[in-house]
């Protein structure tokens, strides 16, 4: 563009380098809730806010509700902070799978913050850690952005490139569907199917996908029943099925204990 001389062009290119990669998948945008801003606390808004707080307090006391997923994050950005990486490395260094230390497969730089959700216990960040072992994926639930409160890994049989899709309860009432895909696969979308014949698009990054189950989808008749992985040309690449009956509310005192309902690889 003629109005920009070479030096100015160099400065601007340095400031925000051109990148071939665009923003994340469209699915992130359509699933992202709006950030509501309360610019002025009018009398009416104050009343609504007070009623909402009272309703939430009552529901929390009854133990009958948890917060919704507030947002998903793009996969390319949001690397895990150093202390999370170190803590997870420490956790993995203490466990073995078939005689091999899990930490062997950890690439700390691949850990990504992918979602944020809230419960009556407080807000949590949700991370995925695609391991270098094909098909293996770990997830981390992090409290206060610094402490791993729950960790769950999935290792499919050797030779499988897709991770077993699983449903895991990461917090009471908060279920996830997560899985591993080959990084180079021509995947167009990953959709979660439900008992009521509806479906939704899972958040996706390089080599993984994740969906935090909407609380309304935990009721019998509406629960997840499987995952479809579709090619960029719209044809189906893989189908996985769950047994939805394993989705159930666990008692409050099993906080931090994961439950999983593996799908068929």
């Amino acid at each position: 563009m003629s109005e920009f001389d070479p030096k100015t062009t160099a400065l601007l290119d340095r400031l925000a380098p051109a990148t071939a990669a665009g923003p994340e998948a469209w699915a992130y945008v359509v699933t992202r809730p709006e950030e509501r801003r309360w610019c002025r606390l009018t009398r009416r808004r104050a009343l609504v806010l007070a009623l909402a707080v009272a309703a939430l307090a009552a529901a929390t006391a009854a133990g009958g509700v948890h917060g919704l997923v507030t947002r998903y994050f793009p996969g390319a950005a949001h690397e895990a902070p150093l202390d999370i990486r170190r803590e997870f490395k420490q956790i993995l260094s203490q466990s073995t799978i078939e005689g091999v230390r899990e930490v062997t497969w950890l690439d700390q730089r691949a850990i990504r913050r992918v979602a944020h959700f809230s419960t009556p216990r407080g807000p949590y960040d949700f991370y995925v850690a695609p391991l270098t072992r094909p098909g293996s994926l770990c997830t981390l639930t992090v409290e206060g952005q610094t402490t791993v409160v729950d960790q769950w890994c999935n290792h499919p049989p050797a030779g499988r490139r897709y991770g077993v899709i699983a449903l895991a309860q990461v917090e009471p009432g908060v279920w996830t569907v997560a899985g591993r895909t080959p990084a180079g696969a021509p995947i167009g979308s990953v959709t979660v199917r439900f008992e009521d014949d509806t479906e939704t698009v899972a958040a996706r990054g390089p080599g993984w996908f994740v969906y935090l189950v909407d609380p309304a989808r935990l009721r019998p008749g509406h629960r997840p029943v499987g995952v479809d992985i579709t090619r960029t040309d719209g044809t189906r690449l893989r189908r996985f099925d769950f047994f939805p009956g394993c989705i159930r509310q666990l008692p409050e005192d099993v906080h931090g204990v994961s439950t999983s309902c593996d799908g068929q690889p």
Binding site: M1, L15, V30, P74, A76, R109
Partner: protein, 168 residues
């Protein structure tokens, strides 16, 4: 004007498909402008998402009196500005999958460019990174097209002076 991008003519309404079309065809430009505004690749991703999420939810408010893309630019630019105000300054990282910390001179450049008046800075970003024409820049920034020319010229002049003072 110029070799700037001629964006789509006004659409009758902002359908989900039309908004998705803008996202898919112009996503990289949105990301680059947001990176320049926020100074951080992760925050830029967030701002672009936020802007488009707002466009989806408030699409009924789009009146079709200007190009859809320019209307979305306004939402994304405002989201990026809000993000920048909310965040403490952080070193930038490129958008790569394993981005490392930014070199110090980029941080210095950012601080230097931040000295420009905001309107001038944004006009330059939209012109250079997104290749928008004056009318679209005016819509995105909420200023008259006639004002864009002077704002842009002043911004470019100041940047040129800065570029001559620093070692790139």
């Amino acid at each position: 004007m110029t070799d700037a991008l001629a964006i789509d003519p006004p659409a009758a309404d902002a359908t989900l498909e039309a908004i998705e079309g803008v996202y898919r065809s112009r996503g990289a430009a949105f990301l680059r402008v947001a990176t320049a505004i926020t100074g951080d690749a992760a925050a830029a991703h967030d701002s672009v998402q936020e802007g488009f999420a707002l466009a989806i939810r408030h699409r009924s408010r789009y009146r079709g009196d200007g190009p859809l893309e320019a209307w979305i630019w306004r939402l994304v630019v405002n989201a990026a500005r809000s993000t920048r105000r909310r965040r403490a300054p952080v070193p930038t990282a490129d958008a790569g999958d394993h981005a490392g910390p930014a070199p110090a001179d980029v941080t210095e450049l950012r601080a230097l460019v931040a000295k420009l008046p905001e309107r001038q800075r944004l006009a330059v970003f939209l012109r250079y990174y997104a290749d928008l024409d004056y009318a679209a820049i005016g819509t995105a920034l909420g200023i008259r097209t006639g004002t864009v020319s002077a704002t842009l010229a002043a911004g470019i002049r100041s940047l040129r002076r800065m570029a001559e003072e620093v070692e790139l």
